[in-house]
């Protein structure tokens, strides 16, 4: 056989085979310049192919920005994206479910087309990095041959449908959501009504309300299994939520229906997709998620439109044709369930058993969590797991949103043997779902949007905490840490007990990696509440911050007090005061380690920014004003916590105006404090000139100011003000970034003009 296409022709679903052939043709068209780069970019995204860091052909090597002279020259696979640049392939795994044959092919793909590493994402997908686009059609064919598609893994489409990894075996669930997650995943894949969204659409399923499960509250559409008694018979349905999401500004989903009958699930999802496609924002990307449509229309009007749409849709037999099979949708164990009785146990077993084993509701069976450090495992480990799955778990393997893998339906009596085998493949780490099991998005390692090294920080925290794990107070052991490399929340920092997201600060004209500390989020109750940023801490101080907060929690918590209650009780002001010394950055000459990020020895500076006194002077003035804005938004948070929503709103708005003023003063020192003038000046000098625009988010953050200025809310609800505070944080971060860009330009201009050049206007 000369090609994979020929070799696998009989094994691939013909429709999938054709789609991949079409994609291969589009790839060739683009190579020949016969397909527009923007169209090709969205085309490849819808096949799960993302750009990766440095794909614009430039990389700062710690000394200077080097051009990466790819042989493809000017050929691009999207705007500013070199054809030959390594990219990322995301692979959808609906509800995380996979079988050993699929695991083996995934392992082969990582070896032959990537770097022999499989990365589990926070949406139960896999990601392969450093993949060349020319390899992607064969990669897709080989996956398709074992029933895996990459279609709509990215792009403005229905993303991987996630579900609780315990579905079907959970002790508390109303019923197993797996068949419904599978059905909706298949139904919406490539559905014509789901092709014209302004942004992505994420769906999740949970079997119960109280646990974290599928994190329903942070999804565009989330379904919680519920039952009711109807004429003496149990009737299945869903508590359906819509309009949730993390992202830069998180939204809690709204209740759409307290009991949506199972037969109405698919048609309602389709009707929602149609309403979203028709009425959702298309031009302003940052307002295009369904959460903004729901907020704009109000949940009642949105519901009315969806119900009305549902009535107009032609019947589709796929809506219900899977339902008769649902009662028979049972997983099969490969071994007879037996209790754990007296078998010899090796060293380390007990600790692993306590954290990584969950008793199924089916007697003598357990779910085993295989902890993957940073969500990574190697190709040979994946093959090893496939072999172990065949022996101990059968086809009952799932990925989790905490970037781990679970084996379900393991006989309890097999645990000692399984543990030994996991030790052999280096995957017997204890601590699943604990403070050492840190979740992190790819961050600056590979993501184009990453600001700071989320994985570098996660690795450092894991290493430090792992050695202390057994000695830790149980209350601390059970905390969760989640880290994002930027404000976009791929690491789900909003719902962690302790979350971080990457930012940067300029200290004496050098950039320093920082992380915003986010406290008060709730993982349980399906992501029941979102935390708020407390302040920006230098990346290198984060381990100390963590130690200080957790030690205080152990010392001062009252019996049974949750971490969230403890934070509330202490108060953010007091907590921030206690961390104030850790927020400072020593001078470069005093300790240069602060000026590089975790796991990356390169200096954390933008390429060619000089170290001129002129920039230094200006920085101090603007930074002073921006710090004042940060203080104001922090005070807004305090008022929010204390329930004075009106005052919180006022302070948050003032913070945004203060940050805008800081920037305006770089051009117009005597600007007045009048909001009308500040907004007008900001609009003219920074928005219309696009100086404030983020490379990827455009003018999104400026809109937060304009919206608050133009439409101040008349009703100050907690949710509304919470959202405003989030927006203000992002506005201030954007102001920092904007100032850094301005300072670089000033330095460059000063250098170009020679030593006698004028100082920049303050």
């Amino acid at each position: 056989m000369s090609t994979w296409k020929e070799k696998l022709a009989e094994q691939i679903n013909p429709a999938w085979a054709e789609e991949i052939d079409v994609f291969e043709t589009q790839l060739e068209q683009r190579r020949q310049g016969k397909l527009d780069e923007k169209i090709f970019a969205e085309t490849r995204l819808r096949r799960g192919i993302y750009g990766q860091r440095y794909d614009n052909g430039q990389r700062h090597d710690g000394i200077r920005t080097q051009e990466i002279a790819y042989p493809s020259g000017s050929l691009t696979k999207g705007p500013d994206t070199a054809w030959d640049a390594p990219g990322m392939q995301r692979i959808k795994i609906p509800f995380g479910g996979m079988i050993p044959d699929q695991m083996e092919v995934l392992a082969d793909m990582s070896e032959e087309y990537s770097d022999a590493i499989l990365h589990v994402t926070t949406r139960q997908d896999f990601q392969l990095h450093f993949v060349h686009i020319d390899d992607t059609p064969d990669l897709m064919r080989r996956l398709a041959a074992v029933g895996i598609t990459t279609r709509e893994a990215c792009g403005n489409s229905v993303r991987n449908v996630t579900a609780c990894p315990l579905a079907g075996v959970c002790r508390d669930e109303a019923f197993d959501v797996t068949p419904y997650a599978r059905a909706i995943s298949r139904f919406l894949l490539g559905h014509p009504d789901a092709q014209n969204f302004g942004r992505k659409f994420k769906v999740a399923f949970s079997g119960c309300r109280d646990h974290a499960c599928g994190l329903v509250s942070m999804h565009d559409m989330g379904a919680i299994a519920v039952t009711k008694n109807e004429n003496g018979k149990e009737k299945r349905g869903f508590e359906l939520y819509v309009g949730g999401g993390l992202g830069a500004v998180p939204h809690q989903a709204k209740l759409f229906d307290s009991f949506l009958a199972e037969e109405d699930l698919l048609p309602t999802a389709q009707a929602m997709a149609r309403v979203f496609a028709r009425l959702g924002e298309k031009n302003i990307r940052s307002r295009a998620r369904i959460k903004f449509l729901v907020a704009k229309l109000g949940i009642d009007e949105f519901r009315r439109l969806v119900v009305e749409e549902r009535e107009t849709m032609p019947e589709d037999e796929r809506w219900t044709d899977y339902l008769p099979d649902v009662p028979h949708d049972q997983e099969k164990a490969v071994r007879e369930g037996q209790s754990l009785n007296g078998q010899a146990r090796s060293e380390g077993f007990q600790q692993w058993y306590e954290t990584n084993v969950y008793q199924q509701r089916q007697a003598d069976y357990v779910v085993v969590t295989i902890t993957l450090p940073l969500g990574d495992l190697s190709a040979w480990q994946m093959r090893g797991l496939a072999d172990l799955a065949r022996r101990f778990a059968g086809d009952n393997v799932r990925t989790t949103v905490e970037q781990n893998i679970v084996f379900r339906w393991v006989s309890e009596s097999d645990l000692p043997d399984l543990f030994q085998e996991l030790e052999r493949v280096g995957l017997s780490e204890p601590g699943a779902g604990s403070i050492v099991d840190v979740t992190a998005c790819p961050g600056t390692d590979t993501c184009k949007l990453g600001i700071a090294s989320s994985r570098g920080l996660a690795a450092e925290i894991r290493t430090r905490l792992a050695s202390q794990f057994m000695a830790m107070d149980e209350s601390v052991r059970n905390l969760r840490i989640k880290i994002s490399g930027c404000f976009n929340s791929c690491g789900q920092h909003h719902i962690a007990d302790i979350g971080f997201y990457g930012t940067s600060r300029t200290i004496s004209s050098r950039k320093v990696a920082h992380f915003q500390l986010v406290l008060g989020g709730k993982w349980t109750e399906n992501a029941g509440s979102y935390g708020l940023a407390m302040g920006s801490v230098p990346a290198k101080r984060i381990p100390e911050v963590l130690e200080r907060i957790t030690q205080r929690y152990v010392k001062e918590r009252t019996h049974g007090q949750s971490f969230q209650d403890f934070i509330r009780h202490i108060g953010k002001q007091e907590l921030r005061n206690s961390l104030e010394d850790l927020m400072k950055v020593p001078a470069y000459e005093e300790d240069s380690t602060f000026y590089s990020d975790w796991g990356d020895p390169r200096e954390f500076t933008m390429g060619d920014m000089g170290i001129g006194e002129c920039a230094g002077e200006v920085v101090s003035v603007v930074d002073f004003d921006l710090a004042a804005a940060e203080r104001l938004v922090f005070e807004a948070q305090i008022q929010l916590d204390e329930g004075d929503y009106s005052r919180a709103d006022e302070l948050a708005y003032s913070a945004m105006l203060q940050a805008a003023k800081a920037l305006i003063k770089t051009e117009f020192l005597d600007v007045q404090d009048d909001p009308d003038i500040l907004v007008e000046e900001f609009r003219r000098r920074f928005y219309e000139t696009k100086l404030f625009h983020d490379k990827y988010a455009g003018g999104k953050f400026a809109h937060y100011l304009f919206r608050r200025y133009e439409s101040p809310s008349q009703e100050h609800t907690r949710e509304h003000v919470h959202t405003l505070v989030e927006e203000v944080q992002l506005f201030i971060e954007a102001a920092h970034a904007c100032w850094e860009r301005i300072a670089q330009r000033q330095v460059a201009a000063a250098s170009a003009s020679g030593p006698n050049a004028e100082q920049p206007v303050q």
Binding site: T3, W4, G62, I68, D115, F130, W380, L427, D600, P601
Partner: protein
Amino acid sequence: MELQRLGVKFFLHDSSQLKLGDLVPVFHSWIQKQLVEDHILVDVHNYSHVHEGPGILLVAHEGNFSIDLRDGRLGLFYYRKQPLDGALESRLKNIFRTTLQGVRLLENEPQLGKVQFKTDELLLVANDRLNAPNTEATFQLLEPELSRFFGQLLDGDDFTLTRQEDPKERFTVRVQAGHSQDTQALLDRLD
């Protein structure tokens, strides 16, 4: 056989000689100084948290280098990603030249102290299950050409070629020679 995606692993004399974390700044410096011939170096990735994984990875357009930890044995693994011109012998020469250049750079790197690679054992990997399935038939097909190549590279030293037989793994041949020679000597023979 149109075999392109070949890889080579040279093992360290003593795995304890190298601290993985020390490789991160070294690989970054390779990028800063563009030290690898005919390679567009892209980035460094740290996989030291993965048990017996790729360790520290240096990504290049043409092929990747990694301090591979498989089976607990540290070594420099280079695998080609982009096609090369010429017959198999020429491609083998090219890939060995690049790998040995990497080996020499590490052996001469002051930040790493004195690390030494052995040449009496190495792995040749075909990262291509389509063109080189891990079968005896593939081995039989390639064995004469590989024998010729290693005969020249090892300058007449005795050696054996053994296929690693797990059919799920990539086609991998272990080359076992009578003596460990200087890496520079091997490199010189490739010219």
